[in-house]
Structure formats: structure tokens, C-alpha cells
Symmetry: C2
Subunit: 133 residues, 2 copies
DNA sequence: GCCATAACGTTGCATATGCAATGAATTTAC
DNA sequence: GTAAATTCATTGCATATGCAACGTTATGGC
């Protein structure tokens, strides 16, 4: 049964590796692309929120976001009410690159599930959604 | 559909994080436990083979194995025929700790799939096995 | 046999990672 | 209202990571 854990672990590491190779040319290696995608789709999260949503350590996420701010893909804005938090948004440069990131993610997904029928894909999605941690 | 990739990515990072926290007391943080488990179950792989089977970068795997040799969990043996390769085995110390690693993996797996019926678990396992990379 | 090609382990180097700790802002309890 | 506890962002530090490169050994083509 623990095959499930092992399988998804291996798949994840492999996808991560090829994604990083693919996106290094944009300066989006080391999982940086994950942040751009997520922030594009859900702008205005604060830093810790973003980290949690990606299941990534907050300090690692913090540094990754800072790098992305420096390289012009993301920007930070102070919150009006809560002085502790800083909200994250994509810049024009980030918006511009998003379609490429998304297309690659889609292509990865399609190859990954290429031996599944549409019905099986739907079932898999449903089953994964029921997993809990 | 790319939800599949995102889901398994998040799950993997989270499991990895808790596993590392759990096993750091044995000096088996940083995914080191993965190597011990794998080598225990399939002894005699050579270094690159082991890395590939875990979908981990070969140089990273090399260094992790070296650390585990230093800490006494694994040992290396030269191959009789092929002078290039070195095969990996668990030591007595590695064998001793394996049950704990395996038990934790099982517990993780059970919690993860706790909202699934037995039939659903079986289906999920089958579907994951059909994923391709 | 012999040369080109490939596979392996290994190292250097720049960078990422993550735990522990800090300080500031906010919320909770009383 | 205020003290304690919580939640942020941020930094320090030790360590892990992964690409590129190297030397050695094996393999394939001729």
C-alpha cells in the first residue's frame, strides 16, 4: 500500500527535475516556476499563505520570492490593515511568462496520464482529492 | 487536469518534511531514510542504479550514500567483474532501524488514504502504476 | 585489436535549503 | 487595558543540492 507514497514521490522528483531544466532559461529553476504559477492564479496571498499553499518551508519560500522580486517576476505590497503581512503579486513580466509555464505543466500532465482513458483520469483526480494529510 | 501534478507535488513535499522531522533523531534526515529502505529491500544495486530507482540526482545520491556509510547504516562493495561500479548494502545497524522506517511509512500511507475504501485504495494503486514518465 | 562512444563514480563550485532564533504586529485571555 | 500567547517576516548558520567537468573502465563498430 505504501507504493502510493513511493510512486508519487518518484513522479514528483522527476517532474520537478525536468521542469527545472526547462525553466532555467527564464531564471525560473529551483521550483521558482511554482511560485509564479500560483501567484498568477491567486494573487494577493501573503508570504506564509503562499508557502503553505505550495507545501514549502516558509523560509525557503521567502527567499525564493525575494529572488523573483529581484528578477522582476513578482512584486510585494504591504497590507493596509495588518502591518505584519506582505502580499504577493505577479508583474507584467510574470504575466507574460505564465502561458509558457502553464503549457509545460499541461504537457507534463498529459504525458503522465497518456495511458489513461478520460474516465480513468477523472477517477484518479477524484481519488487524489480524497487523500488527506 | 494538471491538478494531478500539483496534488502529488504537495503531498510529496509534505510527507518528506514530516519524515525528515521524524527520522532526524536517527541521523536520517534529508531523505536519507529513503536510501536505507530501498537498499534494505533491494540490496546490491550499484550507486547510479539506486539513484535512478529513487529518481534522485546521482551526485546527490552519491553524497547521501557516503554519509550513510560514514554513519554506519550502509556499506559499499566493489563489483568483481565491473571495476567501475560499487554495490550498496545495509549494515547490521541499517537492518536494525529498517522496521521503524517501514512502520512510519506505513502509518503515513494509512493516514493518507484513510478516507478511501479498500476498493478505492486498490484502484488508486492501479491508476498510479499506469502513470508514465 | 583499436578507436570512438558511453557508463560509472567522484569532485568543485555556486547556490538552495531548512531549522532555530529574533523582533515586530496582532490576537486572546483575563 | 494589559500581559501572555500567537502569527508574521526576516536573518544566521550549517548543510544539502545539482550542474558541469574529470578520469577511469567498459562497450560497440569496424
Amino acid at each position: 500500500m505504501f507504493d502510493i507514497i513511493r510512486d508519487i514521490g518518484g513522479i514528483t522528483r522527476r517532474i520537478q527535475s525536468t521542469s527545472n531544466t526547462e525553466f532555467r532559461k527564464f531564471g525560473l529553476g529551483n521550483n521558482a516556476f511554482l511560485y509564479v504559477i500560483r501567484v498568477y492564479e491567486r494573487p494577493g496571498m501573503f508570504l506564509g499563505e503562499l508557502a503553505d499553499s505550495l507545501q514549502i518551508d516558509r523560509t525557503t519560500a521567502f527567499r525564493s520570492v525575494r529572488k523573483l522580486v529581484d528578477s522582476g517576476y513578482l512584486e510585494l505590497q504591504d497590507d493596509a490593515k495588518d502591518k505584519r503581512i506582505r502580499r504577493v503579486y505577479v508583474t507584467a513580466k510574470g504575466k507574460e511568462v505564465y502561458p509558457k509555464l502553464h503549457a509545460f505543466e499541461t504537457a507534463c500532465s498529459e504525458r503522465l496520464t497518456s495511458r489513461l482513458t478520460e474516465a480513468e483520469k477523472a477517477r484518479l483526480t477524484k481519488l487524489l482529492a480524497k487523500l488527506v494529510f
